[in-house]
C-alpha cells in the first residue's frame, strides 16, 4: 500500500479515536471547570457539590425531554434535550441560589474559613446526590434522540476509499459548538457588561470592590446563576454524548478540579485550556497506539503490545498526575491564577 494512504489512515484513526472524543470531552470538562473556577474566584472555596449540580441539571433536562416527547414536541434532527435546556438552566439556577441563601450565605456573613465552606459543600453534595437518586432512580438513562451521526464510519470509508472510518456524532459537534458559544457569551459578559466587570473586580480585590460600592450579594447571586447554567449545560451535553448515571458526575469532579487548577484557579480562560489539556492527556494516555504505529512505521512492522501507556481504568490517574505535576512545577497554573 502506498505510504501516503497509510499516513492518511493514521490521521483519520487518531482523529476518530483521540481528537474528536477529546474535543467533545474537553468541552464538557471546560464548561464544568469554568463554573468551579468562577465560584472559587468569587466565593473562594472549592465547591464539591459542582458535580451534583451538573447531575441535577441533566436530570431536569431529562424530565423536560420526556415531557416534551410525550406531547410530541421535538426539535427535528436535534436532540429534544436542547429544547429542554432553558428550563433545566432556569431550575438549576434557582436551586443554586436557594442553596446559597440557605447554606453558604450564613458562612459568608461570618467570614468563615474557606474549609468550612468546603465541608458545607460536601453536605450539599450529599443532599443533591440523594435528591437526584430519589427523583430519577439509579439506572442508566439514554435520552438522546434526533439524528445520531453526522458522518458514519462506513460512509466515510466509501467516500474516501480509506480503510479507516471516521464517525462524527452529532452530539460531539453540538457539544463543541455550544461550548464555544457559551464561552464566548461568558467572556463578552465578563469583559463588557457592568455586572461582569463587577464580578472581575470582586474576584480581584474584595475590599476595594466594596469601597467602590459593588454589592457583594448581587455578585454572588450572578456567579451562582452562571455556574449553575454552565453546570447544567455541561451535564446535559455529557449525558447526551454518553448517558446519564447519578454517580458519573461525582467522578467527573476530579478531572474538573484538575482542569480548573491546571488552568490557574479563578481564571475562566485558564479553566477552558485546562479542560482540553486534561481531556487530551486522558484520552491520549489511555489510547492504544498499536494500529497507529502500524500505519506509520515503514514495512510490515507491527508492535507487540497495544502501545498503551495506561489502561482505560486509570483515567483518573491521568487527571491526577497532571494536577500533581502542575502543583509541583507551577502552582499558579498555566495562566497565573490566584497564588495560594
Amino acid at each position: 500500500m502506498e505510504y501516503s494512504t497509510d499516513l492518511l489512515n493514521a490521521l483519520v484513526l487518531v482523529s476518530n479515536y483521540v481528537l474528536i472524543p477529546a474535543l467533545s470531552y474537553g468541552s464538557q470538562l471546560a464548561l464544568g471547570a469554568v463554573g468551579v473556577t468562577l465560584v472559587f474566584g468569587i466565593l473562594r472555596f472549592a465547591n464539591f457539590a459542582h458535580g451534583e449540580m451538573m447531575s441535577f441539571g441533566c436530570m431536569v433536562a431529562i424530565f423536560t425531554t420526556w415531557w416534551f416527547q410525550s406531547m410530541g414536541i421535538s426539535s427535528g434532527i436535534f436532540p429534544t434535550a436542547i429544547l429542554a435546556l432553558p428550563f433545566a438552566i432556569l431550575i438549576t439556577g434557582l436551586l443554586a441560589v436557594a442553596i446559597d441563601r440557605s447554606v453558604f450565605s450564613f458562612y459568608r456573613k461570618r467570614r468563615s474559613r474557606p474549609v468550612t465552606f468546603v465541608v458545607a459543600s460536601v453536605g450539599v453534595m450529599f443532599m443533591l446526590n440523594g435528591l437526584v437518586r430519589i427523583l430519577i432512580g439509579t439506572d442508566e438513562i439514554i435520552f438522546r434522540d434526533g439524528q445520531k451521526f453526522l458522518i458514519k464510519a462506513g460512509a466515510f470509508k466509501k467516500m474516501t476509499g480509506l480503510s479507516e472510518g471516521l464517525a462524527l456524532k452529532q452530539t460531539q459537534v453540538l457539544t463543541f459548538v455550544l461550548a464555544v458559544i457559551s464561552v464566548l457569551v461568558l467572556f463578552w459578559f465578563l469583559r463588557r457588561t457592568r455586572t461582569g466587570k463587577a464580578m472581575r473586580a470582586f474576584s480581584d480585590n474584595e475590599d476595594l470592590s466594596l469601597l467602590s460600592g459593588i454589592n457583594p450579594e448581587r455578585v454572588v447571586l450572578v456567579t451562582w446563576i452562571i455556574a449553575a447554567s454552565l453546570a447544567t449545560l455541561a451535564g446535559v451535553l455529557y449525558g447526551l454524548d454518553k448517558s446519564f448515571k447519578p454517580m458519573v458526575f461525582f467522578h467527573m469532579l476530579l478531572p474538573i478540579f484538575a482542569a480548573a487548577i491546571v488552568g490557574g484557579i479563578g481564571q475562566p480562560l485558564g479553566a477552558i485550556l485546562g479542560g482540553y489539556v486534561v481531556a487530551f492527556s486522558e484520552i491520549t494516555a489511555t489510547y492504544a497506539f498499536k494500529k497507529f504505529i502500524k500505519y506509520l512505521a515503514p514495512g510490515d512492522f507491527v508492535p507487540d503490545g497495544l502501545v498503551q501507556f495506561l489502561t482505560t481504568e486509570y483515567k483518573f490517574a491521568v487527571s491526577f498526575l497532571i494536577l500533581v505535576l502542575v502543583l509541583l512545577v507551577r502552582p499558579t497554573g498555566i495562566l497565573r491564577g490566584k497564588v495560594l
Binding site: 465541608v119 453534595m125 450529599f126 430519589i134 454517580m247 494536577l323 502543583l327
Partner: protein, 441 residues
C-alpha cells in the same frame, strides 16, 4: 445509643443489633483517625477511603495463603519489573541531583522515566498475565503471607501510614482546598488500582473466605462447651420442662451467630479503647497543644518557628494509620475483600459526617458521632421503606409511583446525611461533645 441498639435488638434481631454495633466500633476507629487530621490539625482529607482500602488490601495480603503456582509463574518477571522500577527511581534521582536545573535536566529526566517505564511495563505485563492465568476462577493472584489475619491490623496501619507519607510529601503545604482535591484524587486512583490489578487483589473478582480471628459458627455448634452453654441457657422452658430438639437447634444457630459477633465486638472494642487512650494522651501532650496552635493560627505558629508542614505531615500519617487499621478490621469482619464496594460517599464523606457531628477535636465525640451516624445510615433504609410502605397504602395498586418509591426509598439516607451535616455545621458547629478548651499553663 445503647438504648437504640437494644431497641433494634428486640425489634429486629440481636444479630442485626450486634452487626450494627460492630460496624459502629469500626467506624469509631475511622472517625478517630480522621478527627486527628481534622480536629487536631484542621486538615481536610477527602481521601479517607484510600487508607481504608489499603488497610483492607493488607488484610488479604497478610492472611491469604500464598499461591505457589502464581509465584512460580510470574514471580521472577515481577521481581525483574520491580528491579527496573527501582533502577528507574535511582536513575531519576541521580539525574535530578547531578544535572543542573534547566532544559537538559528536564529532557534527561523524561528520557529516564520513559525508558524505565517501558522496560518495567514489559516485564510487568508478562508477570501479570502469567499470574492471572493461574486458575483464574479460584485464585489468579499472588495470594498473601498466610499469617493470622489479626496481624494485618497493625500491618494495615503501617501500610496506610506509608501511603499517607507519600501523599503528604506531594500535597501538604498547599492550601486546604488543594489538599482536599489531591487526597480525593489519590483515593480514586487507589480504588482503580485495587479494582484492576488482578494479580494483587483479584480485582472485581473479590477475595473471599479470609480466615477469621474468631471461631466459626459451624464449629461452635459442634463444640461441646458451646452446646452445653446454649442448653443451659435455653434448655428449660418456662415451666421447667425440657424444650424440644428443634427449638434447641434454632437457638443454637442464633446463639452461634451472636457469639461470633460478640467475639468480634470484644476485639474491636479493645482496639477502640487503646486508640482512644493513646489519642487522648496525644491531644493533651505538648505535641497536641502545638497541633491545635497551628490549626488555630498557622501564620503565628510558623512565625514562632514551628515547621507547620512537617507537623501536618506527622498528624496526617498518624491519622491515616488509624484509618488503615480500621480498614483491615473491616475486611476481617466481612471475611472478604470487595474493591467494588469502596465508594467515597460511604468511606470518605460519611466519616466526615461522623467527626463533625460528634464534635471536631474531641475523641470521645468522634466515637459518639460514629455510633449515631452509622446507626442512622443503616436504619434510615428500613425506616424509609417502612414510611414508603405507608405512603403506598394511600396510592392505587397500579400507580407507577408505588414501584418508583420502593426503589428509591433507600436513597433517603443521602439527603438525611447531607441535611444533618449542614445543620450541625450551622447550628452547632462544635458538635455533640465540643472540643475541651486547652488547659492554660
Amino acid at each position: 445509643m445503647a438504648l437504640l441498639l437494644m431497641i433494634v435488638g428486640f425489634g429486629q434481631s440481636w444479630n442485626v443489633a450486634l452487626a450494627i454495633f460492630n460496624l459502629c466500633l469500626i467506624s469509631a476507629v475511622m472517625s478517630m483517625g480522621l478527627n486527628m487530621q481534622w480536629g487536631y490539625a484542621g486538615l481536610f482529607n477527602a481521601g479517607v477511603m484510600a487508607s481504608t482500602a489499603i488497610g483492607g488490601l493488607t488484610a488479604i495480603l497478610v492472611s491469604y495463603e500464598p499461591v505457589a503456582k502464581a509465584w512460580s509463574a510470574g514471580g521472577s518477571s515481577l521481581t525483574v519489573a520491580l528491579v527496573f522500577l527501582l533502577l528507574t527511581i535511582i536513575a531519576g534521582v541521580l539525574v535530578w541531583k547531578k544535572i543542573p536545573k534547566g532544559g537538559k535536566r528536564s529532557w534527561s529526566m523524561t528520557a529516564v522515566v520513559l525508558i524505565g517505564y517501558l522496560f518495567m511495563r514489559f516485564f510487568f505485563d508478562q508477570a501479570t498475565s502469567a499470574i492471572e492465568a493461574v486458575e483464574p476462577a479460584k485464585t489468579g493472584f499472588l495470594g498473601g503471607l498466610g499469617l493470622p489475619i489479626i496481624f494485618s491490623w497493625l500491618a494495615g496501619g503501617l501500610a496506610a501510614a506509608g501511603l499517607a507519607w507519600l501523599i503528604g510529601r506531594i500535597s501538604l503545604g498547599l492550601r486546604s482546598d488543594y489538599f482536599a482535591i489531591a487526597t480525593l484524587g489519590i483515593s480514586e486512583i487507589m480504588i482503580s488500582i485495587l479494582k484492576n490489578e488482578d494479580w494483587l487483589s483479584r480485582g472485581v473478582k473479590n477475595v473471599t473466605g479470609l480466615k477469621r480471628p474468631v471461631p466459626y459458627e459451624v464449629d461452635l455448634q459442634q463444640s461441646e462447651w458451646f452446646i452445653k452453654l446454649v442448653s443451659w441457657f435455653y434448655g428449660t422452658a418456662e415451666d421447667g420442662s425440657a424444650v424440644s430438639a428443634d427449638v434447641l437447634r434454632e437457638a443454637m444457630q442464633l446463639s452461634a451467630g451472636v457469639f461470633v459477633k460478640l467475639c468480634y465486638s470484644a476485639l474491636f472494642l479493645a482496639v477502640v479503647l487503646i486508640i482512644l487512650g493513646l489519642a487522648t494522651r496525644a491531644l493533651n501532650s505538648p505535641w497536641g497543644r502545638m497541633m491545635r496552635a497551628i490549626r488555630d493560627n498557622e501564620t503565628a505558629a510558623s512565625a514562632m518557628g514551628k515547621d507547620v508542614t512537617s507537623r501536618h505531615r506527622q498528624v496526617f500519617v498518624i491519622g491515616s494509620a488509624v484509618i488503615g487499621i480500621s480498614g483491615a478490621m473491616l475486611t476481617t469482619l466481612h471475611g472478604q475483600f470487595t474493591p467494588g464496594s469502596y465508594i467515597p460517599l460511604r468511606f470518605t464523606f460519611l466519616i466526615w459526617v461522623m467527626v463533625i457531628i460528634g464534635g471536631s477535636g474531641n475523641n470521645l465525640g468522634s466515637i459518639i458521632g460514629a455510633f449515631i451516624t452509622w446507626f442512622v445510615w443503616i436504619e434510615a433504609e428500613p425506616t424509609s421503606l417502612w414510611l414508603v410502605g405507608h405512603i403506598n397504602e394511600l396510592l392505587a395498586e397500579t400507580n407507577p409511583l408505588r414501584h418508583h418509591l420502593m426503589e428509591v426509598a433507600p436513597h433517603m439516607r443521602m439527603i438525611l446525611m447531607g441535611l444533618i451535616l449542614v445543620m450541625v455545621l450551622r447550628f452547632s458547629p462544635k458538635g455533640i461533645l465540643p472540643e475541651e478548651a486547652p488547659e492554660h499553663y
